[in-house]
């Protein structure tokens, strides 16, 4: 995916995270769009735990993976966001599980997260650029 000189685990992690956040944004938009659809179950996207596990910062006890070929280890690049559908939890009589206020709050929160990540990726790229130019401007 990158040249050997760009084997940057942090950048990979940021990229995975921003992909997950973007997918979550779509799920939230879908929930808001379907706020008046009878029988709609709200959807959400989870990736955080998988990413944390791949980065080796999980609370769960897992074997350390120091090589991509190690068993049970998932490299950061292989983390996939997962869409989950809420079931059996309805706000209203029409079987719709969307609470508009909740979704709007999550949307704002998620958008801030996205902007944080773009800022961080930008900084990472700026760092690489500093390295390339050997610290000179």
């Amino acid at each position: 995916m990158y040249g050997i000189w760009l084997q940057d685990r942090t950048l990979w992690a940021l990229e995975q995270a921003i992909g997950g956040v973007a997918q979550r944004h779509q799920a939230l938009l879908d929930n808001i769009a379907n706020v008046e659809t009878p029988g709609y179950a709200r959807r959400d996207v989870v990736f955080r735990d998988a990413l944390r596990e791949a980065l080796g910062r999980s609370r769960r006890l897992a074997p350390a993976a120091t090589d991509p070929r190690h068993f049970g280890a998932r490299p950061v690049q292989a983390v996939e966001p997962r869409t989950v559908t809420a079931s059996g939890w309805f706000m209203r009589g029409d079987g719709n599980g969307v609470s508009l206020d909740h979704e709007m709050a999550l949307l704002a929160e998620n958008a801030l997260e996205y902007q944080t990540l773009t800022r961080q990726i930008g900084m990472r790229v700026a760092m690489l650029r500093t390295v390339i130019s050997e610290g000179r401007r």
Binding site: D30, L100, Y114, T118
Partner: protein, 145 residues
């Protein structure tokens, strides 16, 4: 999957909610219409919403473990409200029946106003969501610079 698809989700909801507002306007405009091409008074119209499931592309995405295409909402149909008409005693009205009773549309102004506000709020929520997506795309564009 890209954020540009996300704009489509909000746009589908804007279209659906606008149609709902138009139906409210139509119902309110015809609150006293006693003569229609189909005969009889005007019947209240309601839009039914359904989640857009993405069809075959969504099914394929699930099997190939790709990101699912954008969904959103669609209007599955416009239905006529089956509730009975209002009956008003008005023997001098040209459309009154032989018993002197006039059938008026089954439109309830209060109900329509409530629906109007609900649709308007839903529309606004989706406009906010749309603008959020736009600012996300703009922030993604500024990564390199």
């Amino acid at each position: 999957m890209s954020l540009f698809n996300a704009l489509d989700i909000s746009a589908s909801a804007l279209t659906a909610e606008r149609l709902r507002i138009e139906l409210v306007a139509e119902n309110l405009a015809n609150v006293y219409t006693t003569r229609t091409p189909a005969g009889g008074p005007y019947r209240r119209k309601v839009a039914a919403f359904g989640a857009r499931d993405g069809g075959f592309a969504a099914l394929m995405a699930r099997f190939t473990r790709r990101a699912e295409p954008p969904r959103g909402v669609q209007v599955t149909g416009i239905y006529e409200d089956p509730r009975p008409f209002k009956r008003v005693y008005a023997p001098d009205h040209p459309d009154a029946g032989p018993d002197g009773y006039l059938l008026l549309p089954n439109v309830d102004v209060v109900e329509e106003m409530v629906n109007l506000i609900a649709a308007q709020r839903a529309y606004e929520a989706n406009v906010t969501a749309f603008n959020t997506t736009r600012s996300l795309i703009q922030s993604a564009l500024s990564i390199g610079g």
